[in-house]
C-alpha cells in the first residue's frame, strides 16, 4: 500500500521525464480491457436506473402528490402510494440481487480467467 512520492515543487517537467510508474502488463490484455468496459457500462447503467427510479419517486411526491394519494378502489383507504412505496423497497432489493447474480455468474469467471493467465 505504500508508494514513494516525488516531492512537491520544482519546475514542471513533461510527464515522461518525471514519471517512473511502470505500467502493469495486464493493461495491455484485451480481455481485461473488455471486462472493464463491460463492468463499467453495467454498474453505471444500474446506478442510473436506481437514481432515475428513486428521484422519479421523490419528484412525483413533490409535484403530483394527489396522484399518489388516489385510492385504488373508491371508498377503500388503500392508495396507489402504498403499493408504490412498498414496491420501491422491493425494487431496490431486486436491483441489488440482479447485480450480484450477474457479477457472480458472468464477471467473476472472467476475472478468474485473467488472473490465472497472469498468476505465475
Amino acid at each position: 500500500m505504500e508508494h514513494t512520492y516525488p516531492q512537491d515543487g520544482g519546475p514542471t517537467m513533461p510527464a515522461e521525464q518525471v514519471d517512473d510508474t511502470i505500467q502493469n502488463p495486464i493493461l495491455e490484455n484485451t480481455e481485461f480491457r473488455a471486462l472493464v468496459k463491460q463492468r463499467r457500462l453495467f454498474s453505471w447503467s444500474m446506478t442510473a436506473l436506481m437514481l432515475a427510479v428513486y428521484f422519479g419517486f421523490i419528484l412525483s411526491l413533490a409535484f403530483i402528490p394527489a396522484r399518489l394519494g388516489m385510492p385504488i378502489t373508491e371508498g377503500q383507504p388503500m392508495t396507489w402510494g402504498v403499493p408504490i412505496g412498498f414496491g420501491m423497497l422491493a425494487f431496490t432489493t431486486l436491483l441489488v440481487a440482479v447485480y450480484v447474480w450477474r457479477t457472480n455468474t458472468c464477471y467473476d469467471p472472467k476475472i478468474k480467467t485473467i488472473i490465472r493467465s497472469f498468476n505465475k
Partner: protein
C-alpha cells in the same frame, strides 16, 4: 477481564438501585425490562471476553482478521445501519403523518445499490482497514489521510453524540435511569466492547442486535396484522378512522414541502451512506470481494424487510395505541412522547414480557451502532493519523493497537461529555447532517479517486474540505438551526438540507483544483491511475491465490 466483568456487574446493579430511588422517574420500573436488559448486557460482555482472546493484531482489531462470512457480515451491516431512530423514529413518523414514514425508509434503503454498484468492490480490492487506504493508493498519503481522518472523525463524533443523546433519553424513559447515568452506562459499554473485543466483538454485537430487532419486528407486525384478519386494508381502515387527519394519512403530506429540500435530502440519504466510515469499514471484515458483494445483498434484504415491517408497525400504532387511553398521560399526549409509540404497541400486542423484550432490543440497537462508530473513529486516528500520516508507516502493530485503544477511550469520554452538554437540545437534525457531510466530503473524494484519472491530492483535499465546511455552514444557516435552535428571525439559507449545494461545491472544487494542479506529483498521481484500475478490478496479486483457491 474477569475482574472487569464483576466491576461492570456491580456498577450496573448500583445504577439500577440508584434509578429505583429516583422519585420522579418518568416510567414505572418494569422489572422484566430491566432483567432482559441486564441479561443482554452480561451476554454481550461474555461475547466481548471471547472476542478479546482472539484480538491479537491490528488486522484482528480493525477487521476481525477478515474472517467474517458474507452472510454474517450482511446481518452485521443491517445491525450497524438500523439505529434506534429506524425503529422508534420511523414508527413515530408514521404515527404522526402516516405515509411520510414510508418515504424516509425508502431513502435509507436506496443507498445500498449505489454502494454496491460503485464503491464496495473497488474499496474491498484496494483497501485494508479504512477508506483512506484506498485514497492513498495513488494520492499523497499524508495530506489525504489527514483529510479523510478529519472528515471521518467529524462524522463519527456528530453521529455518536446524536446516538448517545437519544440513548440517554431512551434509557431514562424505558428503565427509569437518570439521563447522565444512562449516557455514562452506554458510553462505558461501547468503550469496553471496542477496547477489548475490537471488530470481532462489534460484529457479533451487531449481528445479535439485528436478529433481536428483526425478531421483535416480525412478531409485532404479525400480532398487529392478526388483529385485522391479516388484511392491510382493514388495518388502514381502522387507522384512518382513528387518526385526526383521517384519510390524508394515506397520501404524501408535509415531509416533502418543497422540491429542492426533497432532492437535497434524497441526495444526502442515497450518497451519504457511501461515505460513512463505520459502514465502509465493514467491507474489510470479509475474506474477499465476492463475500463483500454477497453481504450487501443480505443486508439490503434484511434492512428492506425491517423497514417494511416498521411501517406496518407504525400503522399499527395509529390503530391500536392512538385510541387507547392507557398509553396517554394526563394532558392527553402519548406517555413518554411520540417516540415511544412502538414501545406502547409492544405492550399492547405482547404484554409486559414483550414490552421488556422490545425495551432491551431498543437498547441493544443503540449499543451496536455506537460500538461500530467508536471503532471507525478510533481507527481513523490510529491507522490514518498516527500510523501513516505521523509515523509514515513505521509504527509497529503494538504501537498502533495502543494508540487505537487510547483513542477509543478518548472518543468515549469526549462523546459522553458532549452528550451530557447537549441533553436539553433538540438534535434530531444531526443524523441528516452527518449524511449530508458524508455525501459532500468522503463520498465525492472516494468516488472520483476510483473513477476519475484526473484527480490529484490538491483537488481531493481542497474540494473535499470545501464540501465538508459548506455542508456544516449551510446546515447552521438553515431554518432548522438558525431559526428554530438559535432563535434568529430569518434563515440565511432557505432550505432544510444542504446536500444538493454542498455536494455541488465538493465536486466542482475537486474538479477545478485537480485540473489546475500543475505540480510534479500530480503527474505521477494521474499516471498511477491505470495500475490502480487493474488492482481495483482484479484485486492485488497478494489476494489472487486465495481467490483461485476458493474454487
Amino acid at each position: 477481564m474477569k475482574r472487569l466483568l464483576i466491576t461492570i456487574a456491580a456498577m450496573l446493579a448500583s445504577v439500577t438501585v440508584y434509578a429505583a430511588d429516583l422519585p420522579g422517574a418518568v416510567q414505572k420500573h418494569n422489572p422484566i425490562a430491566i432483567g432482559m436488559f441486564l441479561a443482554f448486557v452480561i451476554f454481550t460482555l461474555f461475547v466481548t471476553r471471547w472476542a478479546a482472546r482472539k484480538n491479537n493484531s491490528v488486522a484482528d482489531h480493525y477487521a476481525a482478521g477478515g474472517k467474517i462470512t458474507g452472510f454474517q457480515n450482511g446481518w452485521a451491516i443491517a445491525g450497524d445501519y438500523m439505529s434506534a431512530a429506524s425503529l422508534l423514529g420511523i414508527s413515530a413518523l408514521v404515527f404522526t403523518s402516516g405515509f411520510d414514514g414510508l418515504i424516509y425508509s425508502i431513502g435509507f434503503l436506496a443507498s445500498w445499490p449505489i454502494i454496491l454498484f460503485l464503491i464496495a468492490e473497488p474499496l474491498r480490492n484496494l483497501g485494508r482497514y479504512t477508506l483512506a487506504d484506498v485514497l492513498s493508493y495513488r494520492l499523497k498519503p499524508r495530506p489525504i489521510r489527514a483529510f479523510s481522518a478529519s472528515s471521518s472523525i467529524v462524522i463519527v463524533l456528530l453521529y455518536l453524540v446524536s446516538q448517545l443523546v437519544g440513548a440517554g433519553k431512551l434509557v431514562e424513559l424505558l428503565f427509569g435511569f437518570d439521563y447522565t447515568a444512562a449516557v455514562l452506562l452506554v458510553g462505558t459499554l461501547m468503550v469496553i466492547y471496542v477496547f477489548f473485543g475490537g471488530m470481532l466483538a462489534t460484529t457479533w454485537i451487531q449481528i445479535i442486535k439485528a436478529v433481536l430487532l428483526l425478531t421483535g419486528c416480525v412478531f409485532m407486525a404479525f400480532m398487529v396484522l392478526s388483529q385485522f384478519g391479516f388484511s392491510l386494508n382493514q388495518l388502514f381502515t381502522q387507522a384512518t378512522q382513528v387518526h385526526p387527519s383521517h384519510i390524508a394519512i394515506m397520501s404524501p403530506g408535509g415531509l416533502i414541502s418543497d422540491p429542492v429540500s426533497a432532492i437535497s435530502l434524497g441526495l444526502a440519504l442515497v450518497f451519504g451512506t457511501a461515505g460513512l466510515p463505520h459502514i465502509l469499514m465493514r467491507f474489510f471484515t470479509v475474506g474477499n470481494v465476492k463475500a463483500a458483494r454477497q453481504s450487501i445483498l443480505y443486508a439490503t434484504g434484511l434492512v428492506g424487510i425491517g423497514y417494511a415491517l416498521i411501517v406496518i408497525i407504525g400503522f399499527g400504532t395509529i390503530a391500536l395505541v392512538a385510541s387507547n387511553p392507557a398509553y396517554h398521560d394526563a394532558s392527553g399526549g402519548i406517555s413518554g412522547g411520540v417516540n415511544m409509540v412502538a414501545i406502547h404497541l409492544a405492550h399492547n400486542v405482547g404484554g409486559n414480557v414483550f414490552l421488556g423484550f422490545m425495551c432491551a432490543v431498543s437498547f441493544s440497537t443503540i449499543l451496536a451502532v455506537v460500538a461500530g462508530l467508536t471503532l471507525a473513529g478510533s481507527s481513523a486516528v490510529s491507522h490514518d493519523l498516527y500510523a501513516h500520516a505521523l509515523r509514515r508507516g513505521t509504527a509497529s502493530d503494538r504501537e498502533e493497537m495502543r494508540v487505537s485503544r487510547v483513542t477509543t477511550i478518548a472518543l468515549g469520554v469526549l462523546s459522553i461529555l458532549l452528550a451530557i452538554a447537549f441533553e436539553k437540545q433538540n438534535i434530531a437534525f444531526i443524523v441528516s447532517l452527518t449524511f449530508s457531510i458524508a455525501a459532500s466530503s468522503n463520498f465525492p473524494v472516494l468516488l472520483l479517486s476510483i473513477y476519475w484519472k484526473g484527480l490529484t491530492t490538491r483537488g481531493a483535499v481542497i474540494g473535499g474540505s470545501l464540501g465538508l465546511v459548506s455542508a456544516i455552514t449551510l446546515c447552521i444557516l438553515s431554518p432548522t438551526v438558525w431559526v428554530k435552535i438559535l432563535h434568529n428571525p430569518q434563515a440565511w439559507f432557505p432550505y432544510e438540507y444542504p446536500a444538493l449545494f454542498s455536494m455541488a461545491v465538493a465536486f466542482v472544487g475537486i474538479f477545478w483544483f485537480s485540473i489546475t494542479d500543475r505540480s510534479v506529483s500530480a503527474i505521477g498521481e494521474r499516471n498511477r491511475f491505470e495500475n490502480q484500475l487493474v488492482d481495483s478490478e482484479l484485486g492485488t496479486p497478494a489476494t489472487w491465490r486465495a481467490l483461485l483457491k476458493a474454487d
